[in-house]
Symmetry: C2
Amino acid sequence: MIAGELTVGEVARRSGLAVSALHFYEREGLIRSWRSDGNQRRYGRDVLRRIAIVKVAQKAGVPLRTIAEAFRSLPLERTPDAGDWARMSSAWKDELERRIERLSRLRDHLTDCIGCGCLSIASCPLHNPDDALAAAGAGPRLLDPD
Amino acid sequence: MIAGELTVGEVARRSGLAVSALHFYEREGLIRSWRSDGNQRRYGRDVLRRIAIVKVAQKAGVPLRTIAEAFRSLPLERTPDAGDWARMSSAWKDELERRIERLSRLRDHLTDCIGCGCLSIASCPLHNPDDALAAAGAGPRLLDPD
DNA sequence: GCTTGACCTCAACTATTGTTGAGGTTCTAT
DNA sequence: ATAGAACCTCAACAATAGTTGAGGTCAAGC
Protein backbone atom coordinates (compact mmCIF):
# COMPACT_ATOMS: atom_id res chain seq x y z
CA MET A 1 0.00 0.00 0.00
CA ILE A 2 1.42 3.32 -1.09
CA ALA A 3 1.17 5.96 1.66
CA GLY A 4 -1.86 8.22 1.34
CA GLU A 5 -3.84 5.66 -0.61
CA LEU A 6 -7.06 4.48 0.97
CA THR A 7 -8.79 1.14 0.64
CA VAL A 8 -12.55 0.96 0.30
CA GLY A 9 -12.84 -0.15 3.89
CA GLU A 10 -10.88 2.82 5.13
CA VAL A 11 -12.96 5.22 3.12
CA ALA A 12 -16.08 3.55 4.50
CA ARG A 13 -14.88 3.96 8.07
CA ARG A 14 -13.76 7.54 7.63
CA SER A 15 -16.78 8.71 5.67
CA GLY A 16 -19.40 6.76 7.53
CA LEU A 17 -20.73 5.25 4.31
CA ALA A 18 -21.19 1.55 3.68
CA VAL A 19 -18.86 -0.16 1.25
CA SER A 20 -21.86 -0.96 -0.90
CA ALA A 21 -22.70 2.72 -1.05
CA LEU A 22 -19.17 3.52 -2.19
CA HIS A 23 -19.48 0.96 -4.97
CA PHE A 24 -22.80 2.51 -5.87
CA TYR A 25 -21.40 6.06 -5.89
CA GLU A 26 -18.64 4.91 -8.16
CA ARG A 27 -21.11 3.36 -10.60
CA GLU A 28 -23.00 6.65 -10.55
CA GLY A 29 -19.86 8.61 -11.33
CA LEU A 30 -19.67 10.46 -8.04
CA ILE A 31 -16.28 9.14 -7.01
CA ARG A 32 -13.35 7.51 -8.73
CA SER A 33 -10.82 4.89 -7.85
CA TRP A 34 -8.01 2.98 -9.42
CA ARG A 35 -7.09 -0.60 -8.82
CA SER A 36 -4.31 -2.33 -6.96
CA ASP A 37 -2.40 -5.25 -8.42
CA GLY A 38 -4.97 -7.52 -6.88
CA ASN A 39 -7.90 -5.61 -8.45
CA GLN A 40 -8.89 -3.89 -5.25
CA ARG A 41 -10.06 -0.30 -5.22
CA ARG A 42 -7.67 2.42 -4.14
CA TYR A 43 -8.70 6.00 -3.44
CA GLY A 44 -6.88 9.29 -3.12
CA ARG A 45 -7.55 11.32 0.00
CA ASP A 46 -9.56 13.80 -2.06
CA VAL A 47 -12.32 11.22 -2.20
CA LEU A 48 -13.24 12.26 1.32
CA ARG A 49 -13.85 15.82 0.23
CA ARG A 50 -16.00 14.66 -2.66
CA ILE A 51 -18.01 12.52 -0.31
CA ALA A 52 -18.39 15.45 2.08
CA ILE A 53 -19.81 17.53 -0.75
CA VAL A 54 -22.13 14.73 -1.80
CA LYS A 55 -23.46 14.40 1.73
CA VAL A 56 -24.06 18.09 2.18
CA ALA A 57 -25.79 18.35 -1.18
CA GLN A 58 -27.93 15.35 -0.37
CA LYS A 59 -29.02 16.88 2.90
CA ALA A 60 -30.03 19.93 0.92
CA GLY A 61 -32.20 17.68 -1.24
CA VAL A 62 -30.05 17.59 -4.34
CA PRO A 63 -30.42 14.26 -6.18
CA LEU A 64 -27.27 12.23 -6.80
CA ARG A 65 -27.70 12.67 -10.53
CA THR A 66 -27.49 16.41 -10.19
CA ILE A 67 -24.45 16.21 -7.97
CA ALA A 68 -22.75 13.91 -10.46
CA GLU A 69 -23.55 16.40 -13.24
CA ALA A 70 -22.07 19.24 -11.24
CA PHE A 71 -18.90 17.19 -10.77
CA ARG A 72 -18.81 16.28 -14.44
CA SER A 73 -19.10 19.89 -15.48
CA LEU A 74 -15.92 20.81 -13.67
CA PRO A 75 -12.98 21.49 -15.97
CA LEU A 76 -10.97 18.31 -16.41
CA GLU A 77 -13.26 16.59 -13.95
CA ARG A 78 -10.88 17.63 -11.27
CA THR A 79 -11.52 17.34 -7.61
CA PRO A 80 -13.66 20.30 -6.57
CA ASP A 81 -11.71 23.08 -4.89
CA ALA A 82 -13.03 25.92 -2.76
CA GLY A 83 -14.12 27.96 -5.77
CA ASP A 84 -15.98 25.08 -7.36
CA TRP A 85 -17.56 24.38 -4.03
CA ALA A 86 -18.71 27.98 -3.77
CA ARG A 87 -20.41 27.82 -7.17
CA MET A 88 -22.06 24.48 -6.50
CA SER A 89 -23.23 25.28 -3.02
CA SER A 90 -24.55 28.62 -4.13
CA ALA A 91 -26.76 26.97 -6.75
CA TRP A 92 -27.89 24.34 -4.31
CA LYS A 93 -28.56 26.92 -1.66
CA ASP A 94 -31.07 28.61 -3.94
CA GLU A 95 -32.85 25.31 -4.35
CA LEU A 96 -32.72 24.83 -0.61
CA GLU A 97 -34.17 28.29 0.01
CA ARG A 98 -37.08 27.51 -2.25
CA ARG A 99 -37.77 24.28 -0.43
CA ILE A 100 -37.67 26.01 2.93
CA GLU A 101 -39.95 28.73 1.58
CA ARG A 102 -42.46 26.20 0.36
CA LEU A 103 -42.45 24.19 3.56
CA SER A 104 -42.77 27.32 5.67
CA ARG A 105 -45.79 28.44 3.71
CA LEU A 106 -47.33 25.04 4.18
CA ARG A 107 -46.60 25.13 7.89
CA ASP A 108 -48.25 28.52 8.21
CA HIS A 109 -51.38 27.30 6.53
CA LEU A 110 -51.34 24.22 8.66
CA THR A 111 -51.09 26.43 11.73
CA ASP A 112 -53.94 28.62 10.57
CA CYS A 113 -56.13 25.66 9.90
CA ILE A 114 -55.53 23.51 12.95
CA GLY A 115 -58.58 23.45 15.09
CA CYS A 116 -60.45 26.02 13.08
CA GLY A 117 -62.51 23.42 11.33
CA CYS A 118 -61.82 25.10 8.07
CA LEU A 119 -61.24 21.83 6.32
CA SER A 120 -64.98 21.66 6.14
CA ILE A 121 -65.27 25.16 4.76
CA ALA A 122 -65.11 25.52 1.03
CA SER A 123 -62.80 28.51 1.08
CA CYS A 124 -60.00 26.88 3.09
CA PRO A 125 -56.79 26.85 1.10
CA LEU A 126 -55.98 23.42 2.40
CA HIS A 127 -59.37 22.07 1.62
CA ASN A 128 -61.37 22.00 -1.54
CA PRO A 129 -59.62 19.57 -3.81
CA ASP A 130 -62.75 20.12 -5.83
CA ASP A 131 -63.28 21.85 -9.12
CA ALA A 132 -62.63 25.32 -7.75
CA LEU A 133 -58.97 24.51 -7.19
CA ALA A 134 -58.54 21.61 -9.56
CA ALA A 135 -59.81 23.53 -12.58
CA ALA A 136 -57.33 25.58 -14.55
CA GLY A 137 -57.28 29.31 -14.03
CA ALA A 138 -59.17 29.18 -10.79
CA GLY A 139 -57.32 32.15 -9.40
CA PRO A 140 -54.19 32.25 -7.30
CA ARG A 141 -53.42 29.09 -5.42
CA LEU A 142 -52.48 29.61 -1.84
CA LEU A 143 -50.42 26.49 -1.91
CA ASP A 144 -48.17 25.54 -4.75
CA PRO A 145 -49.49 22.81 -7.00
CA ASP A 146 -46.43 20.76 -6.15
CA MET B 1 -76.03 6.43 -10.77
CA ILE B 2 -77.35 7.47 -7.39
CA ALA B 3 -77.04 11.20 -6.78
CA GLY B 4 -73.95 12.17 -4.82
CA GLU B 5 -72.00 9.11 -5.84
CA LEU B 6 -68.85 9.68 -7.78
CA THR B 7 -67.19 7.48 -10.35
CA VAL B 8 -63.45 7.05 -10.37
CA GLY B 9 -63.16 9.34 -13.36
CA GLU B 10 -65.07 12.07 -11.59
CA VAL B 11 -62.92 11.79 -8.50
CA ALA B 12 -59.84 11.93 -10.72
CA ARG B 13 -61.04 15.09 -12.41
CA ARG B 14 -62.08 16.79 -9.22
CA SER B 15 -59.03 15.82 -7.18
CA GLY B 16 -56.46 16.22 -9.90
CA LEU B 17 -55.17 12.69 -9.32
CA ALA B 18 -54.80 10.05 -12.01
CA VAL B 19 -57.17 7.11 -11.96
CA SER B 20 -54.18 4.86 -11.45
CA ALA B 21 -53.25 6.84 -8.35
CA LEU B 22 -56.77 6.39 -6.98
CA HIS B 23 -56.52 2.65 -7.50
CA PHE B 24 -53.18 2.76 -5.76
CA TYR B 25 -54.48 4.80 -2.83
CA GLU B 26 -57.26 2.30 -2.42
CA ARG B 27 -54.82 -0.62 -2.35
CA GLU B 28 -52.87 1.30 0.30
CA GLY B 29 -55.97 1.79 2.41
CA LEU B 30 -56.12 5.56 2.06
CA ILE B 31 -59.53 5.69 0.45
CA ARG B 32 -62.49 3.38 0.15
CA SER B 33 -65.06 2.63 -2.46
CA TRP B 34 -67.91 0.28 -3.08
CA ARG B 35 -68.89 -1.27 -6.34
CA SER B 36 -71.74 -0.71 -8.76
CA ASP B 37 -73.69 -3.57 -10.29
CA GLY B 38 -71.16 -3.64 -13.07
CA ASN B 39 -68.20 -3.85 -10.65
CA GLN B 40 -67.18 -0.26 -11.09
CA ARG B 41 -65.93 1.85 -8.21
CA ARG B 42 -68.25 4.32 -6.55
CA TYR B 43 -67.16 6.93 -4.04
CA GLY B 44 -68.90 9.09 -1.52
CA ARG B 45 -68.19 12.81 -1.64
CA ASP B 46 -66.12 12.52 1.53
CA VAL B 47 -63.41 10.88 -0.54
CA LEU B 48 -62.47 14.34 -1.72
CA ARG B 49 -61.78 15.48 1.81
CA ARG B 50 -59.67 12.43 2.48
CA ILE B 51 -57.70 13.10 -0.66
CA ALA B 52 -57.25 16.72 0.37
CA ILE B 53 -55.77 15.58 3.66
CA VAL B 54 -53.53 13.09 1.92
CA LYS B 55 -52.21 15.76 -0.40
CA VAL B 56 -51.50 18.24 2.37
CA ALA B 57 -49.77 15.61 4.48
CA GLN B 58 -47.71 14.52 1.50
CA LYS B 59 -46.58 18.07 0.87
CA ALA B 60 -45.49 18.16 4.48
CA GLY B 61 -43.39 15.08 3.83
CA VAL B 62 -45.55 12.51 5.58
CA PRO B 63 -45.26 9.09 3.90
CA LEU B 64 -48.46 7.49 2.65
CA ARG B 65 -48.03 4.68 5.13
CA THR B 66 -48.14 7.09 8.02
CA ILE B 67 -51.18 8.85 6.64
CA ALA B 68 -52.94 5.53 6.22
CA GLU B 69 -52.10 4.63 9.81
CA ALA B 70 -53.49 7.92 11.04
CA PHE B 71 -56.70 7.20 9.16
CA ARG B 72 -56.84 3.68 10.51
CA SER B 73 -56.46 4.89 14.06
CA LEU B 74 -59.63 6.93 13.84
CA PRO B 75 -62.58 5.49 15.75
CA LEU B 76 -64.64 3.35 13.42
CA GLU B 77 -62.37 4.31 10.57
CA ARG B 78 -64.72 7.13 9.91
CA THR B 79 -64.06 9.96 7.55
CA PRO B 80 -61.87 12.48 9.35
CA ASP B 81 -63.76 15.47 10.68
CA ALA B 82 -62.41 18.84 11.76
CA GLY B 83 -61.26 17.54 15.15
CA ASP B 84 -59.46 14.56 13.66
CA TRP B 85 -57.89 16.86 11.17
CA ALA B 86 -56.65 19.11 13.94
CA ARG B 87 -54.98 16.22 15.73
CA MET B 88 -53.39 14.82 12.60
CA SER B 89 -52.19 18.11 11.24
CA SER B 90 -50.81 19.09 14.60
CA ALA B 91 -48.65 15.98 14.73
CA TRP B 92 -47.55 16.45 11.16
CA LYS B 93 -46.80 20.09 11.75
CA ASP B 94 -44.28 19.15 14.41
CA GLU B 95 -42.56 16.89 11.94
CA LEU B 96 -42.66 19.68 9.40
CA GLU B 97 -41.17 22.15 11.87
CA ARG B 98 -38.30 19.81 12.51
CA ARG B 99 -37.62 19.44 8.81
CA ILE B 100 -37.68 23.19 8.33
CA GLU B 101 -35.37 23.61 11.30
CA ARG B 102 -32.91 21.13 9.92
CA LEU B 103 -32.91 22.60 6.44
CA SER B 104 -32.54 26.11 7.80
CA ARG B 105 -29.52 25.13 9.80
CA LEU B 106 -28.02 23.52 6.74
CA ARG B 107 -28.73 26.64 4.70
CA ASP B 108 -27.02 28.82 7.27
CA HIS B 109 -23.91 26.69 7.21
CA LEU B 110 -23.98 26.68 3.46
CA THR B 111 -24.17 30.45 3.52
CA ASP B 112 -21.29 30.73 5.94
CA CYS B 113 -19.14 28.45 3.87
CA ILE B 114 -19.74 29.70 0.38
CA GLY B 115 -16.66 31.39 -0.94
CA CYS B 116 -14.78 31.20 2.30
CA GLY B 117 -12.76 28.24 1.17
CA CYS B 118 -13.47 26.55 4.43
CA LEU B 119 -14.13 23.25 2.77
CA SER B 120 -10.37 22.93 2.71
CA ILE B 121 -10.05 23.81 6.36
CA ALA B 122 -10.29 20.97 8.82
CA SER B 123 -12.55 22.82 11.23
CA CYS B 124 -15.33 23.55 8.76
CA PRO B 125 -18.56 21.98 9.92
CA LEU B 126 -19.44 21.04 6.38
CA HIS B 127 -16.09 19.55 5.72
CA ASN B 128 -14.15 16.91 7.53
CA PRO B 129 -16.00 13.69 6.86
CA ASP B 130 -12.90 12.27 8.45
CA ASP B 131 -12.41 10.58 11.77
CA ALA B 132 -13.03 13.71 13.81
CA LEU B 133 -16.68 13.72 12.83
CA ALA B 134 -17.15 10.13 11.80
CA ALA B 135 -15.92 8.74 15.09
CA ALA B 136 -18.36 8.32 17.93
CA GLY B 137 -18.35 10.91 20.68
CA ALA B 138 -16.48 13.48 18.67
CA GLY B 139 -18.31 16.31 20.37
CA PRO B 140 -21.38 18.16 19.18
CA ARG B 141 -22.11 17.90 15.53
CA LEU B 142 -22.98 21.13 13.89
CA LEU B 143 -25.06 19.29 11.35
CA ASP B 144 -27.37 16.48 12.22
CA PRO B 145 -26.14 13.03 11.33
CA ASP B 146 -29.21 12.55 9.18
C1' DG C 1 0.83 -22.68 4.35
C1' DC C 2 -3.34 -21.78 6.08
C1' DT C 3 -6.99 -19.32 8.17
C1' DT C 4 -9.47 -15.15 8.38
C1' DG C 5 -10.95 -10.81 7.15
C1' DA C 6 -11.32 -7.71 3.52
C1' DC C 7 -12.15 -7.45 -1.02
C1' DC C 8 -14.20 -8.58 -5.88
C1' DT C 9 -18.55 -9.01 -9.33
C1' DC C 10 -23.15 -9.49 -10.51
C1' DA C 11 -27.89 -10.16 -9.86
C1' DA C 12 -31.65 -9.62 -7.17
C1' DC C 13 -34.06 -7.37 -3.63
C1' DT C 14 -35.73 -3.26 -0.48
C1' DA C 15 -38.86 0.86 -0.06
C1' DT C 16 -41.74 4.65 -2.03
C1' DT C 17 -45.06 6.36 -5.21
C1' DG C 18 -47.03 5.65 -8.62
C1' DT C 19 -47.61 4.74 -14.34
C1' DT C 20 -48.18 1.78 -18.38
C1' DG C 21 -49.94 -1.82 -21.02
C1' DA C 22 -52.50 -6.01 -22.18
C1' DG C 23 -56.62 -8.09 -22.37
C1' DG C 24 -61.34 -7.89 -21.22
C1' DT C 25 -66.02 -5.61 -19.51
C1' DT C 26 -69.52 -1.99 -18.85
C1' DC C 27 -71.91 2.25 -19.69
C1' DT C 28 -73.82 5.83 -22.54
C1' DA C 29 -75.35 7.89 -26.56
C1' DT C 30 -76.97 7.56 -31.08
C1' DA D 1 -77.75 -2.46 -31.58
C1' DT D 2 -73.50 -0.87 -31.69
C1' DA D 3 -69.51 2.38 -31.32
C1' DG D 4 -66.60 4.47 -28.26
C1' DA D 5 -65.52 6.09 -23.79
C1' DA D 6 -64.82 4.70 -19.39
C1' DC D 7 -64.10 1.11 -16.52
C1' DC D 8 -61.98 -3.53 -14.67
C1' DT D 9 -57.60 -6.62 -13.13
C1' DC D 10 -53.05 -7.93 -12.98
C1' DA D 11 -48.30 -7.76 -14.03
C1' DA D 12 -44.48 -5.22 -15.23
C1' DC D 13 -41.93 -1.09 -15.29
C1' DA D 14 -40.05 3.68 -13.63
C1' DA D 15 -36.90 6.55 -10.60
C1' DT D 16 -34.15 7.06 -6.35
C1' DA D 17 -30.85 5.33 -3.24
C1' DG D 18 -28.98 2.04 -1.96
C1' DT D 19 -28.48 -3.27 0.59
C1' DT D 20 -28.01 -8.25 0.49
C1' DG D 21 -26.37 -12.55 -0.94
C1' DA D 22 -23.90 -15.97 -3.68
C1' DG D 23 -19.79 -17.40 -5.25
C1' DG D 24 -15.06 -16.43 -5.64
C1' DT D 25 -10.27 -13.88 -4.83
C1' DC D 26 -6.69 -11.42 -2.18
C1' DA D 27 -3.83 -10.19 1.74
C1' DA D 28 -1.85 -10.52 6.40
C1' DG D 29 -0.73 -12.80 10.57
C1' DC D 30 0.62 -16.97 12.99
